[in-house]
């Protein structure tokens, strides 16, 4: 078969000839909210490749408006959405994929990934931007008690690993992500002041190590930690901001910290960062957490929340017209819905021939009923998760679109307030019924 032979030759060509790719990242803020922190920006990624003529990856240009949702992946692909369905998600909004180099601890090894040509070639997704973040809140969790001055420890499904900056940089240079985050010592909120201070010192030192070991031209985001201490957060932000980085990664959230003090901590950090560089956060996922992060000037979020929703059989249903009237159908019990999402496992959907969201243009809503998804969940079929991940990702990407529009039109604060108020009402109602729907403990 000539076509197959050609592909073999292409793969060989890729193996023999090391690809010379040049990654460039540009970022510009386009609009600010009234309060002056939330912003809409444009993130541009471009790759030029010297090997295109030999069958290597083509040059690409990705333009993503921020605030943006990065799709959380397992080993570079969404948990359930296969590459052919990935392209049906809103474009270009869905074109940034986040992965952790720790996902590949059990292989393929760096040499093989490098020989294949990096993550874009490994995943067959050349038109996508890949963002490498050591921690992902699902498969790669910081294990601060085992981290030491030499490296950061991560708990993964294939065991616990201590990763030193030099090893981390080896992974990054073989994977060739478009953006990557420096190795950080992320600690739990309960650690001592001394341990928290050490985490800041280490994170800054490791950033310097990463910079000096840097052999790839992907954009580097410097990690900022500091736990629940405003002083340490500020010290870390100031030190990182002095370095030659393209953007910032704010870590250490979602690790036992309280939601109430988060705004103060976020503001303490973002107020010290140069406005012209993008900011990525880990550990904020719920809609109200995203709104809080955006209000503090965060530009990039991951979609861990979508993964948890999907596994639990939940579908997002909150309106996307920017007005945020929550679903208040008296026929839907608090068990099945909390106003923003519904639990499709609930028996009330057994015969429900309607779509998850009327008018939603995602693949799932265009093709399947709630009753079918309810059946798939009941019989533990994988297609349930595929369909839910598609809809939820689509819906959350659209939510980010609504937020960007609100910032641009100067009504972000109203959007946030009305969203949180409606949600509070609903949670109160649910509490009164003594059937609170909590997704996460």
């Amino acid at each position: 078969m000539p076509q197959a032979e050609r592909r073999e030759r292409i793969l060989d060509g890729i193996l023999q000839e090391s690809i010379r790719e040049t990654h460039k990242m540009k970022f510009a803020v386009k609009a600010w909210s009234k309060s002056g922190r939330a912003r809409v920006g444009l993130l541009q990624l471009s790759t030029t490749s010297s090997s295109f003529a030999q069958g290597g990856p083509p040059a690409k240009e990705i333009e993503i408006e921020t605030p943006a949702l990065l799709l959380t992946t397992r080993k570079g692909l969404p948990a359930f959405i296969s590459p052919d369905h990935l392209s049906s998600l809103p474009n270009p909004d869905s074109r940034l994929l986040q992965f952790s180099p720790m996902h590949f601890m059990e292989g393929p090894n760096s040499k093989t990934i490098s020989a294949i040509g990096g993550v874009h070639q490994l995943l067959g997704l050349h038109e996508y931007g890949f963002v490498a973040v050591p921690r992902d809140s699902i498969l790669s969790l910081p294990e601060c008690n085992s981290s030491n001055k030499n490296g950061a420890s991560f708990e993964t499904p294939c065991g616990r690993f201590l990763v030193k900056p030099v090893e981390y940089m080896k992974m990054i240079s073989s994977m060739k992500p478009d953006l990557w985050v420096s190795l950080a010592d992320e600690v739990h909120a309960s650690v001592t002041t001394k341990r928290n201070k050490a985490s800041v010192d280490r994170t800054i030192k490791w950033l310097d190590d990463c910079i000096s070991l840097k052999s790839t031209d992907g954009a580097l985001f410097g990690s900022i930690v500091g736990g629940c201490s405003i002083e340490e957060r500020q010290r870390c932000a100031q030190e990182v901001a002095k370095r030659n980085v393209s953007g910032f990664y704010i870590g250490g959230f979602g690790l036992g910290d309280s939601v109430d003090e988060r705004a103060t901590l976020l503001h303490a950090v973002t107020d010290l960062l140069p406005k012209e560089k993008p900011r990525h956060v880990c550990g904020l996922g719920l809609p109200e957490e995203v709104l809080q992060g955006i209000a503090a000037g965060i530009d990039l979020f991951d979609s861990t929340y979508i993964y948890h929703l999907t596994l639990g059989g939940f579908a997002l249903v909150f309106p996307l017209d920017g007005k945020c009237k929550h679903v208040s159908d008296p026929g839907i019990s608090a068990m099945a819905s909390d106003g923003t999402k519904i639990n499709l496992k609930a028996t009330i959907y057994r015969k429900d021939a309607s779509r998850i969201v009327d008018g939603c243009i995602c693949y799932t809503c265009q093709n399947h009923t709630k009753a079918y998804i309810n059946h798939l969940l009941n019989v533990h079929e994988m297609l349930a998760h595929i369909l839910l991940e598609i809809h939820n990702t689509h819906h959350y990407l659209s939510f980010f679109g609504v937020i960007r529009e609100a910032i641009t039109e100067g009504r972000f604060e109203e959007l946030r307030e009305s969203f949180i108020e409606k949600r509070r009402d609903h949670l109160l109602a649910a509490c009164e019924l003594e059937t609170p729907v909590r997704l996460r403990a």
Binding site: N109, I116, A371
Partner: protein, 401 residues
């Protein structure tokens, strides 16, 4: 009464390539039907199934009747609408699933009695009820309830089952309420006994059904017995009707049965083996879990045109399989593509008159040393396919005629 058209487009000796026009889709045979037990093929969406050329999906009546129930499927306008599958569907009778899945199933003249997996109460599935449930599910092809006996069993029980299957077919025909929209296939039983198989074939052919299935195989019998039953049945079933070998099978079985004149197959093997990390390739199977795959930068099969082989290396799939849902999704996609491509190749080589070359190439890749199993050589001798160019063994058809 029938709701299908079967037109033979090409032949090579006993092998045939046909156009099978069903209410929801015009299929080409030989064809492979992926098994979608609970109204979905594990891990694949319906556009993906269309993309890889799936023509018919098989649904399991027993599972669907339990959840979501045939009444609910009926309310949604049938299984096609419920699962949003525009092409053809086939449902089994439910009997086989009960006998194989439930320990306490017992067969009487009335039907199959079993303990309800829901509340433990004794239940009865009669031929009438099986057809009624399948009428509600609404597949293009429905199967008669038969008395299933393991092929490894011998003696009077086999004979009893065969005669009961013939008695039940009349009850099935009488109970069938939608003969203009659904095709009822009869199932040939009779174990490994040629006399019993013959009586059953004749009995079913007299009923002039839209199609016939060869049942009771793929149950652990030896391969030589297996192909001989298929060869006997295909030789005496009418030329103008589709022939379906139930529960078959492996790629090699499908090639052999097609050479012997069978048209339709179903098997859970491609998707089940995918979940354990095994890929189907022309050489046989590729165990992606194996350590040798960990740093292998080649695709699963460099001759495969599927999305997975175009995009992914064995090294990447090695780290996914048996760990991540995506591993079984991608491998199921490739494995079903392999089976469907095999069906297409069988069809086109029969049409183009290159069937023997196709069979020889297939065998040469699977048995590069020429060690083609004896049962295959024997079957090919009967099928009139000369495989001497790729096989070092000689057929031994001592008990032919």
């Amino acid at each position: 009464m029938m709701a299908l058209r079967f037109e033979v487009l090409g032949r090579f000796n006993r092998a045939r390539a046909a156009r099978l026009t069903l209410p929801h889709f015009t299929c080409h045979t030989p064809l492979f039907m992926p098994v979608g037990t609970q109204g979905t093929i594990k891990g694949l969406t319906t556009p993906q199934l269309e993309e890889i050329g799936c023509q018919i999906i098989l649904g399991n009546t027993y599972h669907l009747a339990l959840r979501p129930t045939s009444e609910l499927i009926d309310e949604f306008g049938g299984l096609h609408n419920f699962m949003n599958w525009p092409r053809a569907l086939l449902t089994d009778s439910g009997g086989f699933q009960m006998v194989s899945l439930l320990h306490l199933a017992d067969i009487t003249e009335e039907g199959v009695t079993f303990q309800s997996p829901v509340d433990g109460k004794p239940m009865l599935l009669t031929p009438e009820e099986s057809i009624q449930i399948q009428n509600r599910i609404g597949a293009d092809i429905i199967m008669a309830l038969d008395d299933v006996v393991k092929t490894t069993i011998t003696g009077p029980r086999i004979e009893e089952a065969m005669h009961r299957t013939l008695r039940w077919i009349d009850r099935c025909i009488a109970a069938h309420k939608r003969p203009n929209e659904q095709n009822l296939f009869g199932i040939v039983q009779g174990g490994l006994d040629p006399v019993l198989r013959d009586i059953c074939v004749q009995g079913l052919v007299e009923r002039n059904l839209p199609g016939y299935a060869i049942g009771g195989l793929a149950g652990g019998e030896d391969k030589d017995s297996f192909w001989r039953v298929v060869a006997q049945c295909t030789a005496s079933l009418p030329e103008s009707k589709p022939r379906y070998v139930m529960g078959v099978g492996y790629p090699l079985d499908i090639v052999v049965c097609s050479a012997l004149g069978a048209d339709m197959y179903d098997c859970v093997y491609p998707t089940r083996t995918a979940r354990f990390g095994t890929a189907l390739v022309p050489e046989g199977v590729l165990k992606l879990k194996h350590q040798s795959m960990a740093e292998d930068t080649r695709p699963i099969d460099s001759t495969c045109e599927c999305m997975v082989c175009k995009k992914y290396t064995r090294a990447y799939l090695h780290c996914l399989v048996t760990k991540d849902a995506m591993g079984s999704q991608l491998l199921s996609y490739h494995n079903l593509h392999y089976m469907l491509q095999l069906s297409r190749n069988l069809h086109s080589s029969i049409i183009e008159g290159t069937f023997p070359e196709f069979v020889c190439n297939f065998l040469r890749k699977m048995f590069p040393k020429g060690d083609v199993p004896e049962w295959v050589c024997n079957a090919m001798e009967v099928a009139g396919i000369d495989i001497s160019s790729c096989s070092t063994s000689t057929p031994v058809n001592s008990n032919k005629d």
